[in-house]
Amino acid sequence: MRRIFGSKIFIISLVIILVFVLAALTAGEDSRLGVVRNILTVPLNPLQKGIKTVSDKVKDSVNFFREIRTAREENQELKKKLQQMEHELEKVYRLKKENENLKKLLSFKEQFTQETVGCNIIAKDSGNLFESFTIDRGSKDGISVNDPVINANGLVGRVSRVDLLSSKVVSIIDTESSVSARLSKSRDLVILRGDAQLRTEGLCRLDYIPPDVEVAVGDKVETSGMSSLYPKGIIIGEIIQIVKNEGQFDYYAIVKPAVDFRRLEEVVVIKVGAEQGEQQ
């Protein structure tokens, strides 16, 4: 009971009721009540003061509540702003990275005499990896079948089909893909193939390593430029495992591509086909 009587809410309610009663009493200009008012007013004056103090206090607390509300709103707004800022920052960071990538790509692209076109990936075949996917540029942009596809890290694959506004790309981890490659160290020619087993891990098989050629884990592999398809010297990846089957003459190695086929966003198509077409 004491807790109820002592609580702020009880006091406030009592005061409010009292004020209402008093207000009601003093509402009309009733002379009859003038006496009463006077009677009441005079002795009640100190009380009134007290009430004023109380009501001030009430006002204060009401204001306090009101301020809390605005603060909350302000807080929410600031939070939103912060989020926005963070978002912006992220965007800036992403743009910065993209810029770096593009710069890298640009310098990379400069190696090629052929014209290049940047593309976004708009769809990919089922599976976790970008084994084959669709890009947002097509024959309208001068892309032809067999055009090599790269990104800032290295060789991605080649164009396998071209439509007017999009193209399909077969990546080097797809079993349809074969790339003439060169061991960066020994300069020996080998063939990089997609392997049905290895591709699920984003890896490739490097076939036809002659028995007298020594390779080591970590050796780099690049395009040979032997055929008209892939320009010379594009990084493919590095050897992560050497497989020598018992009794087999030549052997193979497993290559981890420089391109991460789990995450691919932009690629660049080197318009080899277009140039050849012009030459013809």
Binding site: S126, V145, N146, S160, T175, E176, S178, V179, S180, L189, I191, R193, G194, D195, A196, Q197, L198, R205, D207, Y208, P210, P211, S224, M226, S227, L229, Y230, N245, E246, G247, Q248, F249, D250
Partner: protein, 691 residues
């Protein structure tokens, strides 16, 4: 009216709205249904049957592949490689459902590619039909049976001109576009014909070309979408390193179907296919089953176009055994150089009996204590790699050459031994008791023996012993002692020293022939006459020995009478590292020590006494050489020079090596001694002080 109109207008509006709403609902329902259908289909495609569709879209077939076993390497006695393997690439084909037009276009592209890189391909059609003359090389029946689309056509084609057959094949059988020239069309047909002979199934692809360049492989691999059905694989290919000097020992390899017409009776059982190369001569032939190894098997996953998706080893291949020869490649080369050089010199040399026609010869050097052949050369020689490349024009040039280039004269050339036979006759005489080592015999210029008058080219030598007779190569002395010993005793001892039979060397060898009663009766149907014995005693008549027989015989004189089995393989090494050494075998000639000693003494005198026939040649040597010259008159006397021979062993007092040299039409035996000298100098690492 106005009011009415207003009302009706409102109603109309309402109605219209209602209609629109209705239509909207209908559309909505349709769209929803469509979406639902799409969704259902999508779910069906992606989730319900997703895996199945994915599998079908990348349809793969599990089949078996071959892992070719590595053929064993061949090394010289010091481990210098002579034959090994290198990696090569092959093209195979699996039939796809392309139209004739597409197929022909693809093949035309392939032809251009192969041509550009200088690659060759298999063509059966070319052996049947000659495109240059438009004629058939062989019976056309088989071809018509394959290309004729029905029985009526076949009947028509049998009577048709070759040109019409070509036209039919081009247009009807293969549907080749008229834009191609006849030559181009023919080349497309070559491939199409192979595909007709052996349908290219996914589990049994058709081999299109072997040992193509990496350039061709690169294009076929990278542009595989343009060449559906074609794929490449790697395989070890035989390779010879600087093998010209050792060509006849090494031998050569050839296409099994081409070299062995009846190959299908024996080889398929052993796992050969008609495209396989197989040893045809020399070590490659003799040790085919040791060198060959056993192919392995893969379990591979291929797509419908034959492209390899992945593979794993099911049965590991077992490489062949490596072979270490007894040949010292350094000595071998020295022997070959010297033989070639001296044949040239002999041809140019001024001599009354020289017809300047020396052109061939052989040298064999053998370890007298083991029978190991240290050098075995035959001239003229060839590059055995030619046989690996399968260029049949070059191969047929070598095989059909009038100089018998591919003949190993060291084992298959049989030559009259002439005076090199005299030590053997001496052995027979000594063993029979006709003479003792120091017996002196009156050796006149002229003497009647066995009913014939014989003359001595050395003139009247008066009383000489065996040593002097051997040193001067006195014909009269050997007529006398040979006649005394009798042909049967000579033949007995000749056989004891390995003549008239194979030496047992691993590679093919000729028996030669031994002048004997049996031989004359068997091959001439005539009886032996006493004069025959005189002729046989100086190594003429029907005596014809191989250089390997000669070296074996001279080595046994050197080592005191043991006939080792000459051999070319020192050891074989299994891929596991296990070594199989060749067992050293010998048999005793049964000649007495005193006999051998007496003959040795005579042979030392040949190269060392004042009147020895080869005395000048070895005079700077730090040890004595025991030898014997031989000059054999051939049937073509007066047209060609005589064959020249020299046999020797050294050092005379403790022999290590025996050498036999034969130069066809080499004029004089002594002319060939410098070749033996070069071999000895290389073997003993001597410097030529004369030069």
């Amino acid at each position: 009216m106005v009011e009415e109109y207003k009302i009706s207008d409102k109603e109309k509006e309402k109605k219209k709205l209602k209609d629109i709403k209705k239509r909207y609902i209908i559309y909505l329902v349709i769209i929803i249904i469509c979406c639902a259908l799409f969704l259902r289909h999508l779910v069906n495609l992606q989730i319900v049957n997703g895996q199945e569709y994915l599998d079908t879209s990348i349809k793969r077939i599990i089949t078996n592949g071959v892992i070719y076993a590595n053929r064993g390497n061949i090394y010289d006695r010091n481990g210098i490689p002579i034959a090994g393997n290198r990696m090569g690439y092959c093209i195979e084909y699996v039939d796809t459902d392309l139209s004739d037009k597409e197929k022909n276009e693809m093949l035309y592209k392939l032809i251009k590619l192969l041509e550009q890189n200088g690659d060759t391909y298999k063509s059966t059609l070319r052996t049947i039909f000659n495109i240059n003359t438009f004629s058939f090389n062989v019976n056309k029946e088989g071809l018509i049976d394959l290309i004729g689309l029905n029985d009526d056509d076949k009947a028509y084609l049998m009577d048709a001109e070759p040109k019409e057959v070509f036209k039919y094949m081009r247009e009807k059988t293969f549907g080749i576009d008229s834009k191609y020239t006849d030559e181009e069309a023919f080349r497309i047909m070559e491939f199409r014909y192979e595909m007709l002979i052996k349908p290219a199934k996914i589990n049994n692809p058709l081999l299109i070309a072997e040992d193509v360049t990496i350039e061709t492989v690169t294009v076929l691999e990278e542009r595989n979408s343009e060449f559906p059905g074609f794929s490449t694989f790697s395989k070890p290919f035989r390779e010879y390193y600087d093998a010209e000097a050792v060509a006849h020992v090494l031998g050569y390899m050839g296409n099994i179907g081409r070299y062995y017409e009846d190959w299908s009776q024996k080889y398929p059982e052993l796992g050969y296919t008609p495209n396989d190369l197989v040893g045809v001569s020399g070590i490659e032939f003799a040790f085919e089953q040791n060198l060959r190894g056993v192919n392995g098997k893969t379990r591979k996953e291929v797509d419908t176009e034959g492209r390899l998706a992945s593979y794993e080893v099911e049965v590991a291949p077992k490489p062949g055994q490596d072979i270490y020869l007894t040949i010292d490649l350094n000595l071998q080369k020295a022997a070959m150089d010297s033989l070639a050089r001296n044949i040239e010199l002999i041809r140019e040399r001024e001599h009354k009996d020289n017809y300047h026609d020396a052109n061939a010869g052989a040298v064999v050097a053998m370890d007298v204590k083991t029978g190991e052949i240290l050098a075995m050369v035959s001239y003229p020689t060839f590059d055995p790699s030619v046989f690996l490349k399968g260029d049949y024009e070059q191969i047929s040039y070598l095989i059909n050459h009038p100089d018998n280039i591919t003949l190993n004269r060291a084992t298959n050339g049989a030559y009259a031994p002439a005076s090199t036979y005299k030590p053997l006759v001496a052995i027979a005489a000594l063993e029979t008791g006709v003479i003792r080592p120091e017996t002196k015999i009156y050796t006149p210029y002229k003497k009647e023996i066995g009913g014939l008058i014989w003359t001595n080219p050395e003139g009247n030598q008066r009383e000489i012993n065996l040593e002097k007779a051997l040193a001067t190569s006195s014909n009269m002395f050997f007529y006398i002692i040979g006649y005394e010993a009798g042909i049967d005793n000579i033949v007995k001892w000749a056989k004891n020293f390995g003549f008239g039979s194979k030496t047992g060397i691993e590679i093919a060898e000729s028996i030669g022939s031994l002048a004997s009663r049996e031989f004359k009766l068997k091959y001439l149907g005539e009886g032996w006459v006493p004069a025959d014995t005189c002729n046989a005693s100086i190594g003429q008549l029907y005596n014809a020995f191989t250089p390997i027989q000669l070296v074996n015989y001279v080595a046994s004189i050197g080592n005191g009478g043991k006939l080792y089995t000459p051999h070319l393989v020192r050891k074989r090494v299994e891929p596991t590292g296990e070594v199989i050494n060749t067992e050293i075998k010998y048999r005793d000639s049964t000649a007495k020590e005193s006999t051998i000693k007496a003959v040795q003494k005579g042979m030392v005198a040949v190269a060392n006494s004042q009147d020895g026939t080869a005395v000048e040649i070895f005079k700077d040597f730090p040890f004595d050489v025991a030898g014997k010259t031989g000059t054999a008159e051939t049937a073509q006397k007066g047209i060609h020079s005589s064959n020249a021979l020299f046999v020797c062993y050294a050092p005379a007092d403790d022999p290590e090596i025996a050498v036999a040299v034969v130069v066809e039409r080499g004029v004089r035996g002594a002319f060939t001694a410098p070749i033996a000298k070069d071999v000895l100098m290389t073997y003993f690492n001597l410097k030529d002080s004369a030069n």
